[in-house]
């Protein structure tokens, strides 16, 4: 895993360097023209956010069931990914919406669901930071509840109202746009793997420092 880190870093950097070119060359969408190009970063960041959320929830289950510290490292990584990339989505979305729909925000299913999930994982991180010792287990509970909540928020807001473009937008993309879109998705996914590797290593090193300092005190 360590040896793959540098090649992966170079690959991701290259992909992100190329991405603006690909996006600029992608054809314009007929009604929204220029502003629709936000989509190439907006949608992949949501993919990463939900992947992070499910990573956190899955790792939390393993952590509670087996007590594996490693699982806890993955859980906190997932939560941080969810918060950072969720924030990115929550900012790029309204910037797009302002032009496309005329308003900054709408209480539509996808937006509300994304906001609620984002808030849940912000709460997760707050708990870990300010909850004092032993808050890893509590946070694991929050992560699991947060993920279990996703279908409920989706259905409850869906019955309430919806205006967001239907999920079926992706298959209807024109050929030039589809290539660029999946390229950006791949770039974001690889970036996510890179971040997971780095972040988990950070957690492991932190755990080692704690152990070493405990040994020192003996």
């Amino acid at each position: 895993m360590q040896r793959l880190f540098l090649p992966l870093l170079i690959l991701v950097a290259a992909m992100f360097a190329y991405a603006p070119l690909a996006i600029a060359n992608a054809p314009f969408e007929s009604t929204m023209l220029l502003v629709q190009k936000i989509f190439y970063f907006h949608v992949p960041s949501w993919f990463v956010m939900f992947s992070g959320a499910f990573l956190c929830a899955g790792a939390s289950v393993v952590y509670l069931a087996k007590g594996s510290k490693n699982a806890d490292h993955y859980a906190v990584t997932g939560a941080e990914l969810a918060v950072v990339f969720g924030l990115m989505g929550l900012i790029t979305g309204p910037l797009w919406a302002r032009k496309a729909w005329g308003v900054w925000w709408e209480w539509d299913v996808k937006l509300t669901l994304a906001l609620v999930v984002w808030l849940t994982f912000v709460a997760y991180l707050l708990l870990r930071r300010y909850g004092g010792p032993g808050s890893e287990k509590l946070a694991a509970g929050v992560g699991i509840f947060g993920a279990a909540n996703i279908p409920f928020v989706y259905y409850s807001v869906n019955w309430w109202r919806t205006i967001h473009p239907k999920t079926t937008v992706v298959p209807t993309l024109g050929p030039g746009m589809r290539g660029t879109f999946w390229f950006c998705v791949l770039a974001f996914m690889l970036l996510m793997v890179l971040i997971i590797a780095a972040r988990v290593r950070l957690e492991r090193q932190r755990a080692r420092v704690d152990e070493l300092f405990l040994e020192l005190e003996d």
């Binding site: 999930v117 708990l127 909850g131 694991a140």
Partner: protein, 226 residues
């Protein structure tokens, strides 16, 4: 000791302690009433309540006073250090969860008995038109909210910053409960009430209750162990 007996003993203990001082009961009911009044001042224009506020205010008052009640219930345990005694007892941990849940639920029922007529009165909301359905919504919603809240309240009882962390953790998770409760109650309050919609929201609440209480029962033990 069997599960039901443990639940009964803990519930009885909590109720007896509470009945002696009635501290949490009176303060929470008063808080709920103040909440409703504050919202009344916020949403009443020229002496007339805005349309449809009754349902929203009712559920917000339930959510806020519920958070308060949960915090106070576990604070009492923590202060008298009975929490550690409870956790050390050789009983099934989930039984403690169920007992605490029943205790807070009883308290919330008392609060709602006061708040529901108050909201009906202040906002001219015809809350008693479809009483069984409304009671069903309130019960299912309160169980859902309290189910998740008891889990988080117990988790946070020994944590730092527990006062502010409880609402921070609780509200995002219970958003479906609030949405379903408000929309369901609204459907019953509107000019031509639609019990079918209210029933649909009630099913959502019931599913929520089943899923999250099951989850809480599964995760209560591992989360509460050090």
């Amino acid at each position: 000791m069997n599960f039901v007996r443990v639940v009964w003993l803990v519930v009885r203990k909590d109720l007896l302690v509470e009945l002696r001082s009635r501290e949490i009961l009176y303060t929470t009911v008063f808080f709920a009433v103040s909440c409703v009044l504050v919202f009344a001042f916020g949403f009443v224009r020229e002496g007339q309540a805005m349309d449809d506020v009754g349902a929203g205010i009712l559920w917000i008052a339930v959510a806020f006073s519920g958070t308060l009640a949960l915090g106070r219930a576990f604070e009492r345990e923590r202060q008298s250090e009975t929490l550690r005694a409870l956790l050390l007892a050789p009983v099934d941990r989930p039984a403690l969860y169920v007992a605490k849940l029943i205790g807070v639920l009883t308290l919330m029922t008392a609060v709602e008995i006061v708040v529901v007529p108050l909201v009906a009165l202040l906002f001219q909301a015809p809350l008693f038109r479809h009483l069984p359905m409304l009671l069903g919504l309130l019960l299912a919603g309160t169980v859902g909210f309290t189910g998740v809240g008891t889990m988080f309240g117990a988790m946070l009882a020994r944590a730092r910053s527990r006062d502010v962390l409880l609402p921070v953790l609780l509200y995002p998770i219970t958003i479906p409960v609030i949405i379903a409760g408000v929309r369901g109650t609204s459907a019953l309050l509107q000019a031509d009430p639609d019990p079918a919609i209210a029933r649909a929201w009630l099913s959502l609440l019931l599913s929520f209750d089943v899923v999250f209480i099951t989850l809480a029962l599964w995760t209560f033990e591992p989360v509460m162990t050090d």
